[in-house]
């Protein structure tokens, strides 16, 4: 049991994809690159098929684009949110494709490692602060960390708290996505381990454990598809919220 779980954790840990490759990718980045290539093919095909009366793959891409552009950008940032769509849309499609690809065995989700999620969260951090600084200047932006009307004696404390909260954002953003994907795969793995063990030492309990584990892994697989979409949405909406906060830093 313990060795099987250890094996599962080893399988899910970040390690070189191939010992022999000249440029050694990790197991996660191998699948990440495949997801990115699939995504590129998808969006390029979809953009060539953009018609006033949509059909086929154009429909799916359009629905997703419209969802992010209106359902996330415009809803959170107002009409000017459309300007941020290329960035936020890239985030959404990247996370979504990686999350979904991870649900097709033997692929791993490119977002199931902190190497990916922290990098993208740091990009979000740099972009939203960059937008805020570009809008009102570095010193005013820093000053705006303390809301106007804060009592003077509280201002230093609030400033420190706000600063910490801003620097924690890439961390929480990254961990949230990573932990969801990683935990989902551990759950799936655990029930697979149960099934393997039940088959290996076939006893009376196997008759109960085997079908139940199978049922659970089917249910969890469906749940993971839902989580994949949900986490892409959450990552995207938080990005939009952070950018919106930076645009309206002085309010």
């Amino acid at each position: 049991m313990t060795e099987k779980i250890a094996e599962l954790l080893h399988e899910l840990s970040v390690r070189p994809f191939s010992e022999h490759a000249a440029f050694s990718l990790t197991n996660y980045t191998f699948w990440l690159i495949i997801a990115v290539v699939l995504l590129l093919v998808f969006v390029v095909v979809a953009s060539r098929k953009a018609r006033l009366v949509p059909s086929g793959v154009g429909n799916i891409a359009e629905a997703a684009v419209d969802f992010v552009r209106n359902g996330v950008c415009v809803d959170i940032m107002g009409p000017e949110g459309k300007k941020c769509f290329p960035f936020i849309g890239t985030m959404f499609f990247f996370v979504l494709f990686n999350n979904l690809l991870g649900n097709i065995p033997p692929a791993l989700p490119g977002t199931g490692t902190v190497g990916t999620t922290f990098t993208w969260a740091i990009v979000v951090f740099l972009v939203y602060n960059g937008i805020g600084i570009k809008k009102i200047g570095f010193f005013r932006y820093i000053k705006a960390l303390v809301p106007s009307g804060t009592p003077v004696f509280l201002a230093p404390l609030i400033f420190v708290i706000e600063l910490i909260s801003h620097f924690l954002r890439p961390f929480t953003l990254g961990v949230r996505l990573f932990a969801n994907m990683y935990a989902g795969h551990i759950m799936l793995g655990v029930f697979t381990v149960f099934m393997a063990l039940a088959l290996e030492h076939f006893t009376a309990t196997s008759a109960i454990v085997l079908p139940l584990s199978f049922l659970m892994s089917v249910i969890l697989r469906a749940f993971e598809v839902f989580v994949a979409v949900l986490q892409a949405y959450i990552f995207t909406i938080l990005t939009a919220v952070y950018i919106n906060g930076a645009i309206h830093a002085e309010h």
Partner: protein, 166 residues
């Protein structure tokens, strides 16, 4: 703990992935789609606006036609009414004229009849007088004086006249 310490190779792969993806999405993939979405939204909005305009125009036309219809109907009623009045007055006029003519005709006829009657009377009177004289002469054998004759004739005539009147 090693789970949340990122691998630097992975981070570099992701930096490149982000750069490539963002540029391709921003410059090539998204513009046709968003442009088309906006175009479609505009087209739908325009179509709706045009439909609304058409509807308003149709309603206005309908209202106009209704007014025209009512006017036409009122006019027709008026024309008919006028025609009826004209016919009515013509009828009264014609009737009055006819009555008048009939009246005149009747009066003329009565006049003619009376004249005829008077003439006939005069003639009869002469005849009867002569006859009576002759008859009387024959009966009596003597001639009555002219004065007696006349008295007799008048009496007789009065009798005849009263008979005639009945």
């Amino acid at each position: 703990m090693e789970l949340i310490i990122p691998n630097t190779t992975e981070m570099w792969v992701n930096v490149v992935a982000f750069a490539v993806l963002f540029i391709v999405m921003w410059k090539f993939a998204f513009p046709p789609i968003t442009k088309m979405l906006d175009e479609r939204a505009n087209k739908i909005r325009e179509s709706l606006e045009r439909a609304e305009e058409t509807r308003v125009e149709a309603e206005r036309l309908l209202e106009e036609y209704k007014v025209q219809m009512a006017e036409a109907r009122a006019e027709a009623t008026q024309v008919i009414e006028q025609g009826r009045k004209v016919a009515e007055s013509m009828k009264t006029e014609i009737l009055a004229k006819a009555k008048e003519e009939a009246e005149a005709e009747k009066a003329k006829a009565i006049e003619a009849i009376q004249a005829e009657k008077a003439a006939a009377m005069a003639e009869i009177k002469g005849e009867v007088a002569d006859l009576s004289v002759a008859v009387a002469g024959k009966i009596i054998g003597s001639s009555l004086s002219k004065k007696d004759h006349e008295a007799l004739i008048d009496k007789y005539l009065a009798e005849v006249g009263s008979l005639n009147e009945n």
